[in-house]
Point group: C2
Chain length 525, copies 2
Amino acid sequence: MKKIYLYDTTLRDGAQTEGISYSVNDKILIAKKLDELGMDFIEGGWPGSNPKDLEFFKKIKSVKFKNSKIVAFGSTRRKNKRASSDPILKALVESKVKHVTIFGKSWDLHVRDVLKVALKDNLEMITDTIRFLRSKNITVFFDAEHFFDGYKHNPEYALDTIIAAQEAGAQSIILCDTNGGTLTSQIIKIIGEVTPHIRKNLGIHVHNDAGMAVANTIAAVEAGCTHVQGTINGYGERCGNADLCAVIACLKLKLNINCISDRNLRELTEVSRYVSEVSNMKHLDNQPFVGNSAFAHKAGVHINAMLKNTFTYEHIKPDRVGNKRRFLASELSGKTSILFKAKELSFDLNKDDRHTKNLHKLIQRLEYEGYQFEAAQASFELLIKKALKKYKKFFELDGFRVIVEKRQDDTLISEATVKIKVNNISEHTAAEGDGPVNALDSALRKALQDFYPTLGKMHLSDFKVRVLDSKAGTAAKVRVFIESQDEKSSWWTVGVSENIIEASWQALVDSIEYKLLKEKEADKN
Amino acid sequence: MKKIYLYDTTLRDGAQTEGISYSVNDKILIAKKLDELGMDFIEGGWPGSNPKDLEFFKKIKSVKFKNSKIVAFGSTRRKNKRASSDPILKALVESKVKHVTIFGKSWDLHVRDVLKVALKDNLEMITDTIRFLRSKNITVFFDAEHFFDGYKHNPEYALDTIIAAQEAGAQSIILCDTNGGTLTSQIIKIIGEVTPHIRKNLGIHVHNDAGMAVANTIAAVEAGCTHVQGTINGYGERCGNADLCAVIACLKLKLNINCISDRNLRELTEVSRYVSEVSNMKHLDNQPFVGNSAFAHKAGVHINAMLKNTFTYEHIKPDRVGNKRRFLASELSGKTSILFKAKELSFDLNKDDRHTKNLHKLIQRLEYEGYQFEAAQASFELLIKKALKKYKKFFELDGFRVIVEKRQDDTLISEATVKIKVNNISEHTAAEGDGPVNALDSALRKALQDFYPTLGKMHLSDFKVRVLDSKAGTAAKVRVFIESQDEKSSWWTVGVSENIIEASWQALVDSIEYKLLKEKEADKN
């Protein structure tokens, strides 16, 4: 079995995503996670381009890696400099890394219009740069920028650039589809024509502008590439890079290439989520292999078949990549998924049960009003338990009030008062907060704290708002999702109202009730 | 040039997306939009499976389409029924459509484990069903469900199923990768082996579970398929179907297949956004061709090159698909993008200008605090104008107060008071609203209305909240984006605070200031 080298550029190319802005600490956290996953190479950044990346390379030296080598990125020397006095190359050498990726121009258009040098000068820039770094005992990967576009326009010249890199001592030659517009058939054809000329490792680096980055990467491996570049979750400028999560899963599970261990593959979903968390990006539900919906079944006929044989509507077993199968509660899937969920909660219902019918109707009505339980399973569980009268209230609300005030001197005050009853004992209390939901959350916990001390161990970890009918403007209904977590798990709850405070309140209350119920049931067992 | 038939299944397969739930009216709106785009076939739903789809087929009869034919979806007859008395087929005939898609089993595993019939009985079910519909003069498309998985396990039987459909009179045979796990190389190989046996149109229908749906669809067309199924934005169960936006753009711009007109292609981005709006799904920024970031440049070196030649980092011209090029303001791209934006606003700055340096520092500080201007260009423009002292305040705030109260009887009240000054004339007013932001918005407009009557013509159209440091729970900083629109355009503004009301206030104020400034500048010209 041939060895495939995994090369991650989340910290460099991924950082170009609209909306992503990594701190040095973010980058270190991600690098450690990628090392755990078993990445061969981690491109940390471009030490010549900004102070943040310089600092990263300083700090990363003190981090020990089990699997990964840190790589610095840079360009070929400037046209009017000698390699030895070029500031970019100097920064690379000073970063003290042992592996450097140099990108150089393979498309004559770029040489003429961007570098504005003669075609042969660009070849010399490639040669000088690589030779210089080799003289410092640095391993060099050559990113042939725009190789495929260059090859389409001027195949001889594109080939000349990578042959120059090969002769100068690059360890791997990476063919880049920088603009991401190349079709799979062209990738296969061009790699086939290039292979006879290259005796070094061939690599692939593609962008997703035509929606083909993963397919193009896998096709390139089938065509002979042994070095694979991409980013976690496909982050990257414009439409992103090849998503390494999908690439790794395909290499392992479709091509049987042992690029990471089976055990590490089971961490894939967690790594993907972790990187999205640190990147402050929404984790996409429909992301292949690792998305929350990747193995979620909604169609009634699919769920029925899955209950007979899980192979019927799953291309792989979800636990191989650390993901989970889910059956969704929805009006389309009908009663089957309600029964399934009820069964998970140890209620034995059947299809024609009066309870099942009532639950089904209730859920349809709530979904019509804007609730969504697919992404708020904790609220869904509470709903089932309440409908089946398997739920005893932990407290009653007598009322709340929230005030936010901004004064002329710019002071901002958020205060909430909450009046509740537990076992007929009243509690009326108030709290300030950093905002109205926080004040409300604090006041509610304060009121409940003496009755339920374990609430001190949970906290809200995410908060989402969606305007349901945008045409109604600020008067529109909003749906609020709240994620809470304690030391053991996390759970999502939902609230819907035209009032964001009320919607948040519903989700807050569900969240607290879910926690208390969980404790109570754990105590029983 | 060969004719390629575009077949959209957003309304049926797309409706299986986690989070999507179409009303009958939503479906009609989408169908009309798809017709405008030039779709050949629109699969409206499965009239046998639920009352909503039945109603859709009733209502759609009165809608006139220019380009599209409406198709109903259904399965082969049940194992123990005759075709003529099968309720599913009856519902199809009664829907009065002229085109029907029948899905049948091509994978022996499904025949055995799900249908639980003998392999030859399944062939008869396919034959009977198609013959029956043909006898009613209905054109039949045969979706060979799980064809590729079936072919991998039992090629002879998979072939038998589609030959049965061909002999029974199906007009097109659609090869489905239902579980979405087939690699492009396998798609190409299998279609090559199937082609000699089929004289009808071959079609392709693939899911995206391995991240290859678009590439697999295009590869199938290159291998000879002439009927292409997919969904707008790739909606669909699990990881979705092939994204028809990318497929259409690739067919037109990469393979020069004239599946829709050039003019209609320029509506592609709008259609994609419209469908996401009706579907109540976030429009993905990085979606190929039509995403907001699809032609957004952030890396400094890319922006520099783009200013020399736009061909350098774009695989197609964005206006061909109705999208736009953008240069992003960000700490990474540095001063170039600030200069570029300033130029758009007709300010001639240069790199070493004191203003440029100050602006650059200011933006870096604000981004550090959590602001993001990439997605809030209206706030960014205001920021530049304010920094360059090209902005005169329209009003001053003396203070606001927002109260949300929930009483024991469940009544909920939101009230805001606002005190402002315009040209030293004070206005102190109050308004109720459906929620705190709505009350604040109403009170602010009410206070400004007499001074600026055109504010009556704008309204808020979207509202997003993101928790910036989720570890801080409800006390975390939140970033609010508000989209506003008037009859001419829409614009996004941003606010950041630990207090959601204050963050909303900032975005609201920016939104109103942007509108007033726009009017003022239009008056000048």
